[in-house]
């Protein structure tokens, strides 16, 4: 079982603040971390490897410092990792990212399964997984919450679709994206941490993976951000005073006045 997991390094988003005066993101002192949703993908890959043998390779695209996210997943038990890093990759939207990852994965050779997290916490799109499957021409099943069976040339998974659960049979190689329900990710072992420190993580550039520079980065991205701003959520709040009894009565009266009750 040759498994590939896609991971991304993201800012620790809960700490991303907006400067109230200038309306820009404050990025100073914000640590980078592995996208939390990817840990479920890594965990599922490791469990499959432990059960069926084979190996797990992690791939990421990002700046040189994204290496540390890849070291983290080697510490968890991934066998090797590859980083796609080059200025030409910068500014890629989900279409260009899907293409770049597909080129990197094609270079790796054969595989049985690709696992992606549900989405990343920074971009929040969830588009790269299925987009990558389309680039590679393999089937994809999103929102997988359980792998039911892995057989010769196929797998059976359970996926969530809004208010529905479905059991899906798919040939492999294929790509799945997994939800948080699928497992409880492990922590790194001491042995893993040592392996991570020693691991060599190759960096591949567009020419290494035969990628067309016109399809990468800003050049290969149909979408671009024109504006970022802080959501205006503030309402004119009326505070109700005077103790629980009176507060409760005022509230019900006001809600009835506004015809919501």
């Amino acid at each position: 079982m040759e498994i590939i997991v896609c991971v991304k390094q993201v800012p620790e988003t809960t700490e991303v603040q907006i400067d109230p005066v200038k309306g820009t993101l404050i990025r100073e002192g914000v640590a980078a971390t592995i996208n939390p949703f990817d840990l479920y993908a890594v965990e599922e890959a490791l469990r499959l490897k432990e059960r069926y043998g084979g190996s797990v390779t992690a791939i990421s695209m990002g700046p040189p410092q994204a290496q540390s996210a890849l070291r983290d997943v080697i510490a968890l038990g991934c066998d090797r990792a590859v980083l796609l890093s080059d200025p030409l990759f910068a500014g890629s939207d989900t279409l260009a990212t899907s293409y770049a990852l597909a080129c990197g994965i094609r270079k790796m050779g054969s595989y049985d399964l690709i696992i992606c997290g549900l989405k990343t916490t920074d971009g929040d799109t969830g588009q790269v997984g299925p987009g990558l499957a389309e680039e590679l021409g393999i089937p994809s099943v999103c929102y997988v919450r359980r792998i039911v069976e892995l057989g010769d040339g196929y797998m059976v998974v359970e996926r969530t679709l809004d208010d529905l659960y479905e059991t899906v049979h798919t040939p492999i190689p294929c790509l799945i994206t997994v939800t948080k329900e699928i497992n409880n990710p492990r922590l790194a072992s001491l042995k893993g941490k040592l392996a991570a420190r020693k691991a060599e993580i190759p960096t591949w550039k567009p020419q290494d993976i035969g990628a067309d520079p016109k399809r990468l980065g800003s050049a290969g991205s149909p979408t671009w951000v024109v504006k970022v701003f802080h959501p205006s959520t503030r309402r004119a709040t009326e505070m109700l005073e005077g103790g629980p009894q009176s507060q409760a009565e005022q509230l019900i009266a006001k809600l009835r006045q506004r015809h919501v009750l």
């Binding site: 993101l25 588009q127 099943v141 040939p171 671009w224 503030r234 309402r235 009565e249 509230l251 009750l261």
Partner: protein, 394 residues
């Protein structure tokens, strides 16, 4: 590729651009702004520069985009029932189509969907494309992607909207890659700019930031749109539109995955459909607090919601979770009890019509989005609200 240039003659070294850059890739070198790697050409610096020293040159694309006309909406169905988000897409789609002076079209894939397709026309749709075939009965990536790609190549819509449901989010990225076009996820705002391009606004960074995104040089401009954000289309009396039945060449359809079984979630749990939601958070102090929340919800005829903290601590099931990593809701009334109001929670409920917050901490961020705020112990306040609601005749 786009290019950004600073004119050193014009740059006064004021540093406004340095602060404006969301990607922190501008700095002052010898008193002149310098742009480092990492720029994504968002234009924030161009806007703030008082001396117009910064210019962004975007690559002109040779493709003729004027061939692409009309707004296409994906008429998602599950088990033969049109998903509620579709009616919202039709409401917004009609508005965008009218602004462009173009048609609103809808596409339905399924089995035995003729009646539903006829009904959709009356929501102000000019044309409903219907593919009725057993292969399309339930959503699967392969046949859906291929059928829609064929339709888009033939009808060349300018804009293609899909619901940001789990089906929409699985399908749209495959389709966008196949069509080699741009796709924006999870939009909460759509508008047309002065050049006729679609302005797509969406939350990013856990709802901390809103980003407006353009797809200027590719067609169709594709977006998935969040449920319960846009206004639902109304039925129109005497509206004239047509259903076009389209055939499917099944021999050309790749069909790799099979659905072996499916089961629905237990009924009565769907917070996305509820008109009134009472939600509990960490302030409840423990799982037993949800008994009180349920009691209030029952008294008001509403459903029970929860914050991520409460779900992560195992106090209540995930399907109750409201917020960015849970469900987006837009009820008539949302009552937040013991919820501080993290950005990720607010992103899932702030478009509710009326918001009430009950919290011990007067500085809790939830009060900023609330219409009515009660500072107090929820275990004292909520029983009184239940009482008041009951005696008011509900």
């Amino acid at each position: 590729m786009a290019e950004i240039k600073v004119d050193p003659q014009k740059c006064s070294g004021c540093g406004l651009c340095v602060d404006s850059c969301p990607f922190k890739c501008i700095s002052l070198l010898d008193g002149i702004a310098a742009v480092r790697e990492g720029c994504n050409f968002c234009g924030a610096c161009v806007e703030v520069c008082p001396t117009e020293a910064i210019k962004i040159k975007r690559e002109e694309r040779a493709v003729d985009l004027s061939d692409f006309k009309g707004v296409l909406v994906f008429g998602e169905q599950v088990g033969g029932r049109i998903s509620p988000v579709v009616y919202e897409l039709l409401g917004k789609g009609r508005e965008l189509a009218d602004r462009l002076g173009q048609n609103l079209e809808c596409v339905v894939l399924g089995k035995g969907m003729q009646g539903a397709a006829e009904d959709l026309v009356s929501y102000g749709v000019d044309r409903v494309h219907l593919y009725d075939h057993p292969i399309l009965e339930a959503y699967r990536d392969d046949p859906y992607t291929q059928t829609l790609a064929n339709l888009v190549k033939e009808t060349k819509p300018c804009i293609f909207l899909l619901g940001a449901t789990m089906i929409g989010r699985s399908l749209a990225p495959r389709l966008a890659v196949r069509l080699k076009t741009g796709l924006t996820a999870d939009c909460t705002g759509l508008d047309i700019d002065e050049k006729g391009n679609l302005l797509q606004t969406r939350p990013a960074f856990g709802g901390n930031v809103m980003a407006t995104i353009l797809c200027e040089g590719h067609r169709p401009q594709m977006a998935t749109v969040r449920y319960k954000v846009m206004k639902r289309a109304e039925k129109r009396q005497g509206w004239r539109g047509e259903v076009i039945e389209r055939s499917l060449d099944e021999t050309s359809i790749l069909d790799r995955t099979k659905i072996l079984a499916s089961s629905h979630e237990p009924p009565g749990c769907s917070i996305t459909e509820a008109e009134i939601i009472v939600s509990g958070g960490r302030g409840l102090g423990g799982p037993e607090g949800f008994k009180l929340i349920k009691e209030l919800a029952d008294a008001l005829g509403g459903a029970v919601g929860a914050s991520r903290c409460a779900v992560d601590d195992g106090w209540i099931a995930y399907r109750h979770q409201v917020g960015l990593s849970g469900k987006t809701v837009r009820p008539k009334l949302y009552i937040a009890c013991g919820i501080s109001g993290s950005v990720q929670h607010l992103a899932g409920m702030q478009t509710s019509d009326v918001i009430v917050a009950v919290n011990k901490d007067p500085n809790a961020p939830i009060f900023k989005v609330a219409d009515y705020g009660i500072v107090g112990d929820l275990y004292e306040v909520i029983p009184k609200i239940i009482q008041a609601a009951k005696s008011a005749g509900r």
